[in-house]
Symmetry: C2
Subunit: 188 residues, 2 copies
Amino acid sequence: MPPGHWEVLSRQVLVDAPPWLRVVQEAVRLEDYRTVIPDFFAVELQPHVIVFPLLEDGRVPLVEHYRHALRRVVRELPAGGIAPGEDPLECARRELLEETGIEAKTWVPLGAFCLDPNKGCGEAHVYLALDGRQVASPDPGDLAVQVLHWYQREAIRGLWQSGGFDSLSSVAAAGLALSWLDAHRPSA
Amino acid sequence: MPPGHWEVLSRQVLVDAPPWLRVVQEAVRLEDYRTVIPDFFAVELQPHVIVFPLLEDGRVPLVEHYRHALRRVVRELPAGGIAPGEDPLECARRELLEETGIEAKTWVPLGAFCLDPNKGCGEAHVYLALDGRQVASPDPGDLAVQVLHWYQREAIRGLWQSGGFDSLSSVAAAGLALSWLDAHRPSA
């Protein structure tokens, strides 16, 4: 029997806080057409973008801020939620400008990926932003205080390879971006 | 003001389905000591492992199965939930054996990363499993039917670079594993 689809027998919304969060419980019949699971949970989170920005002068910014869900201060690539109806690339341009003051001439989409295949949890859209310049002061408008830290590309590679990022999205984006850069813009 | 911590004023559990899922709503006071947010949501998911297995003969298996939260069939690296109290590496050995029938001689931990810095969503522990051999038939015991597909390392690289994986955890694990292999086990 090849992988198939499951039939939804009933559906109950347990938490409904759009656009941030929706939690759904479903009763489902599996692809064997017999087994019924009464409590399949799915989590819907706001989709987000994550951006690997490379400035013309070779620097890459990381954002340091407190993340309350983790109870600690983390450093990650610039990221932010996609507003309802917003185009992912437009969101990436907006978030990069807000969080870092950077405008980039060249944008490379590196894919869109779910956070958790089992629960869903929304999608991350990954971008590489090239030929960037800082044109404004950061104005993140986020709940948490943020501080920017600047790295050279090879320092980012070291951080990535040594498990130094906190989030899967930063790890995924850094890996894809460095691979693209190695192929298309080798270091001097 | 440097990044600080938030104070929890109240806490309500909205969904409690251990070990799969817990959703919490908190009222929090921010690091400015003034602003109060009444509805900060955090999502706790079961932590999981994800494994990049490389066999002695050079092949890498991907697992194809239906993921109901995504409503589609996906291919990803072997992965699975960490049971309460289970050691992550032991879980990785168990899941690899169950899903693929592979035992690996050499295990390289590549880091542990949160799924979403904003909501938490649990942690992914990433491993590279080297010098593997298929010693048994797969016996995944998963709800969904699964099929194994075998790839050469460079085909996995192509899939990774072209956005061909579905989940952030597969993208993150593939990138870290390929980078480690390039440095320590260059292709013949």
